[in-house]
Amino acid sequence: MIFKLALRNIFRQKRRTVLTIMMMCFGYTLLAFTYALSEGSYNSIIEAFTSQSTGHLQIHNKSYLENQNLFYSITDAPKMIQNLERDKSIKAVSARITGGALAFANNKTAGVKIVGFNALKEQALTHYENRVFEKDSTINGPSGTYVYIGKKVARILKLKLGDSLAMISSGVDGSIANDLYTVKGIMKGSPFDDNSVYLGLNAAQEFFSLHNQVTHVSVLLHNIGSFPAAVNRMAPLLSNTKYIVRPWQKIESSFYKAMEADKKGNTITELIIVLMVSIGVLNTILMSMLERTREFGLLKALGTKPLQLAGMVTLEVLLTSFISLAIGVVLAYAVIYYFSIFGIQYSEPMTYGGMTFSELTVEFSTKAFLRPAVVILLSSALVALVPSYRVLKLKPIDGLKDF
């Protein structure tokens, strides 16, 4: 009975209802889009970050994490890689040596980060070759005394292709690591490459006196979301309890935390949109209630129970919001789908965490649809409380007097 009444009331004043629905629809689409946009941009940042540098997971010697001493290395990397490569969820595995060194050339000095890796395996993981600015096309990645250097290193040391580069550091056995290399590749400007010197794995092992050892093994999964399960599955494959697998969130915890804080900032934007929509809905509903004060007074005078009336009003609001959501989902789907395919070009590339992005990415996810729906429903239920309360308190005689 009340449901019927509520439904009839909705369709009685079509213009008013359409106005409310439009308000809600607009709010829903806006929310869903913002959400999809923020998810999309963060995920593309994470994707760029992990696939260009850290990988999704990394395996270290536990003691290495505590004191960064090269001595605490991984001693059976080849076997470990073989084991890991059998796992179906793993896309690529690369063993690396990282360490600091002092580089000299043309009477200039620069502090550099040495990264030693197997050219093929690393290419599968970070696609570093795609970030090469110029290189000697006769070679396949850094190996032997041939190295790739970051743009900044090249600039500071005034190095060109074919120039030689001397590096000094300390080896794992306390010896003074020193050797001469030839620049065969220069990377484009990028935060991961700028201060780096890329060596072949064997050359790096020789340099640091780390025979057959590596400092960490980096793993790229097919699906970044699957890492908790992957960590559990990988643990027994490590062959030694002194090794530990950690996801990128732990490895680059400062980056991760900064991003999380940034995300928190976005909830405030979301909150403002919700508030805007809620106030708009409240406005239209309240207006319609005021218009109908006489009607409510009459209903009360005829003996309708106050709770029945309040229920009817609430039902009206909820029904409206359901209709709006149904339309909103279609609308939001269309908008998000469009932008997830075409993206939004920046007029100028933006940098975040040192990476450059020229396009805003919109992520298509159920979360982006569900969350705003819940938010809209809750806020309209909250909004419905106001007129319900008014109806409850309305005295029939006051209502009838109102004209």
Binding site: F71, A166, I168, V172, S175, I176, D179
Partner: protein, 248 residues
């Protein structure tokens, strides 16, 4: 009262017996001997250094030439990886040379106290930038028939890592037995012990030195002299940058 005087007298005579005062000149002469125990006026030696830490153990064979305290030239003979790495010290300047990269690197004074080639010895230990005789105040602590103990505190213009150094010297043969190094707060930092004493001509020289840092577990550095020749004629060209950069 009588007893007190008697005991004071007794005590006095006792300390007299164990620590006969030494004149400053005598102390200086003794410290000069310690400073130059492996140097004399000129020296030419080969030695093997063994570095042991909880993580690794390695040994280096080196050849060294010295003239007085001011000039030192050292070059590594083995292992192959480090062969040819050389150190030259002239007065207060010091350089390392790395043949693989053909690079001479000047060691600034601030690095004098950092480790030499990953050992527990500092650059200063090798090149004797500071001398006990000139840069420290000496005080006789104890003197027995076999041993003289001297406490050294750095003079104000000496850039020393040490708050004090206590040296035990053989009383008759004048070679060092032990050196204990303390920091400014009086904490024991490291001990250098001398052993394998050998008669080289008229002098007695400990052929082995063992340096043990007290704050690092399972760690020490040993130097064993294979051969030392003293007062050999050395050309001035030995201690030059040109010689440093010569391919060996």
């Amino acid at each position: 009262m009588k007893f007190l005087i008697f005991s004071t007298l007794l005590f006095y005579s006792f300390t007299q017996a164990t620590a006969q005062p030494m004149t400053d000149a005598e102390l200086k002469a003794l410290l000069k001997k310690v400073d130059r125990i492996y140097r004399s006026d000129t020296s030419h030696s080969t030695m093997t250094m063994k570095i042991k830490t909880p993580q690794f153990e390695r040994s280096l064979t080196m050849e060294s030439w010295t003239r007085g305290l001011d000039y030192t030239f050292m070059t590594i003979l083995a292992p192959v990886k480090d062969k040819g790495i050389s150190t030259l010290k002239r007065k207060s300047k010091m350089w390392n040379y790395f043949p693989k990269i053909n690079k001479v690197i000047k060691i600034p004074p601030s690095m004098m106290l950092s480790s030499w080639m990953g050992s527990d010895f500092t650059n200063d230990d090798f090149v004797k930038e500071s001398s006990y005789q000139d840069d420290y105040f000496a005080k006789l602590l104890k003197r027995t028939k076999v041993m003289v103990s001297i406490e050294l505190t750095p003079k104000s213009d000496t850039s020393s890592l040490w708050g004090k150094v206590i040296i035990d010297i053989h009383a008759a043969k004048y070679y060092p037995i032990k050196q204990v190094f303390y920091d400014e707060s009086g904490e024991k930092i490291r001990t250098l012990e001398f052993s394998h004493v050998k008669a080289l001509g008229a002098r007695m020289v400990p052929m082995k030195m063992t340096l043990t840092p007290h704050h690092k577990k399972d760690q020490y550095t040993e130097i064993l002299y294979n051969k030392i020749d003293f007062d050999v004629p050395l050309k001035a060209s030995v201690f030059t940058r040109r010689n440093l950069q010569k391919r060996r």
